[in-house]
Symmetry: C2
Subunit: 345 residues, 2 copies
């Protein structure tokens, strides 16, 4: 088991990778706890839940609505959860996004922790304190940044994920390697079989490595005014692809990363070899190759991007494998690149 | 004009008392601003608003709903307000509560400031960063604590408030004096005529004094884990009275303060003379004397109090004029006191 400590000016978050998830009993108070989960997780793991009231939401992105958070707050109130209480999220990214937001705003903030059940949430949503809900179909428009007290990542749960859910998480894991950890990238490239077979020891090691990198970035720039923006690599175009093509987050981000890699190459920031290695690993796991939205759709979607400031977007480029950089880039320039690519596919 | 600076570990808030409210022009960026107000304030002052898009809500507590915040977020998005933008609240407590919450959660937090148009909000809601909405009829259940960049308090607007609105704010101003500033208490007692006549110079001075005290408390304990709790003096029973009797906040708090003063006397914490002085000033301005909820209603209401921890409430007692203290007090003990008082009225 590895314990990674994320410290920010306001809070501390302890992330446990590779521990049995019943470890959670030691981290919870004896009373005043409520559990938020979704119906799938409840069905799979409900019999192992700690003995507290459980509120389960419908699985999927459709639950990331402010009305769902309001309903859950009403249930916490009815259950008698007060400021001294705690909320425990058990689930993937949707559950941790909703629960983190609920904990941030219920009675102006109460304690929370999470057990992360998917690879995607273990390497991404659970760590770093971003939470939130969608506004209509615009993703994560309403939310806060607030660190959970703890996150438990049990790779044993990753082993039993459906294939597309596993691959979706793998895309974010590969993202971490591409933007900040070339050794992790080498490990992934060298043991694609172990990854495909979901070797638990290997998974523990690479998840811990990805979490450690993310924690170091968040510790330096919790509120995303600088460095943290690199975590959005592949996400500007990826979010647009996710929403227009209605595919899983990781696959959309993978296509977004491929485009951002090509864009970096087109601007002369990376070599053809680096471009080839990145494209290669994404294709090896069949993460890319999805259909692309038309130009007008793409322009409309990125114009709503949270990373936008005026007519520019803080776009994440690569300068090599393991090195990312953020540059304010005109929406027109992004669209010109996209038009060329789109016409050539 | 007086400028009071509130510094917390995470933020700084500049509060300007007694300045013309067009000062706001200097504090706003040139573009990317949206104004949130209510229909009354819009009618009275709309012609003086800075030249930015305005979104107006229905006046009153009924607008403190999460659905209203969601609608406003949709309008900000449609207007193209992004993370580099700013929201300006112009109004009283309801407008600043909604706007502060909106600014805290829109795109995970954008800049905001406020022009405070009522006495109540100038001495209370606008300063200290508490924001939020109600959950059903339980007050302020959903919200955050986040400091506005600036607050402008123009006593000239206080002069034209309806009488009950003015008196409601006066109750919170007297609260500040009772819990933390015996000199302010003396000033109020010695110039009740000037206060009744709303002498603008006098108002500027006492508002600034009340704001300075509140800012000093918030600076020390932004998240209400200790000292800040004294600001809740009169609020445990006051909130219950406000909701069951449907009267204005300040009047309910005044009755709550009278009860808490009697409770402090009953426990031997203050003298009969001090009790008499506090009761006297509240009665002088006809702030108390409202009907009280029955015992069952009172118990139900305080059981939902945010200040509750288990079966106790952090109840604010007095130890003298200008000195408050917080003690975890059993709900049963509070109810026993209330029963005796209620039966003797």
């Amino acid at each position: 088991m590895e314990q990674i400590i994320l410290k920010t000016p306001a809070a501390r978050s302890d992330i446990y990778v590779g521990c049995p998830w019943k470890t959670v009993h030691k981290l919870l108070p004896r009373s005043g706890v409520a559990i938020i989960t979704d119906d799938n997780v409840m069905r799979l793991y409900g019999d192992r839940f700690p003995p507290f009231p459980v509120f389960s939401v419908t699985p999927g992105e459709g639950s990331k609505q402010i009305s769902v958070v309001e309903q859950l707050a009403g249930k916490l109130l009815d259950t008698g959860i007060d400021r001294s209480g705690m909320i425990l999220a058990i689930g993937g990214g949707v559950v941790s996004d909703i629960t983190g937001f609920l904990a941030a705003v219920y009675m102006r903030g109460i304690r929370f922790g999470s057990i992360s059940t998917t690879l995607l949430s273990q390497v991404d949503a659970s760590v770093g304190g971003k939470n939130g809900v969608n506004l209509g179909n615009v993703k994560n428009m309403i939310g806060t940044i607030r660190q959970p007290e703890f996150v438990i990542c049990a790779p044993s749960m990753v082993v039993s994920l459906p294939e597309d859910e596993y691959l979706s998480g793998l895309a974010e894991l590969i993202k971490t390697a591409i933007i900040g950890d070339s050794e992790l990238f080498d490990t992934i490239v060298q043991d694609t079989d172990g990854i495909a077979e979901r070797n638990e020891t290997l998974l523990s090691a690479i998840i811990a490595r990805a979490v450690r990198f993310k924690a170091s970035v968040v510790a330096e720039d919790e509120h995303e005014t600088g460095l943290r923006r690199i975590l959005n690599f592949g996400h500007t175009l990826g979010h647009a692809i996710e929403l227009t093509q209605k595919i899983k987050h990781g696959f959309a981000v993978a296509s977004g990363m491929e485009l951002a890699t090509w864009f970096s190459f087109a601007k002369g920031f990376i070599s053809e070899e680096e471009k080839g290695m990145i494209t290669g690993i994404l294709r090896h796991f069949r993460l890319t190759g999805t259909a692309m939205p038309c130009e007008d759709e793409m322009r409309r979607m990125i114009s709503h991007d949270k990373k936008k400031a005026g007519s520019s977007i803080n776009f994440v480029f690569l300068e090599g494998i393991g090195r990312a950089t953020v540059m304010a880039t005109g929406i027109d320039e992004i669209m010109e690149f996209y038009r060329n690519i789109h016409n050539s596919i």
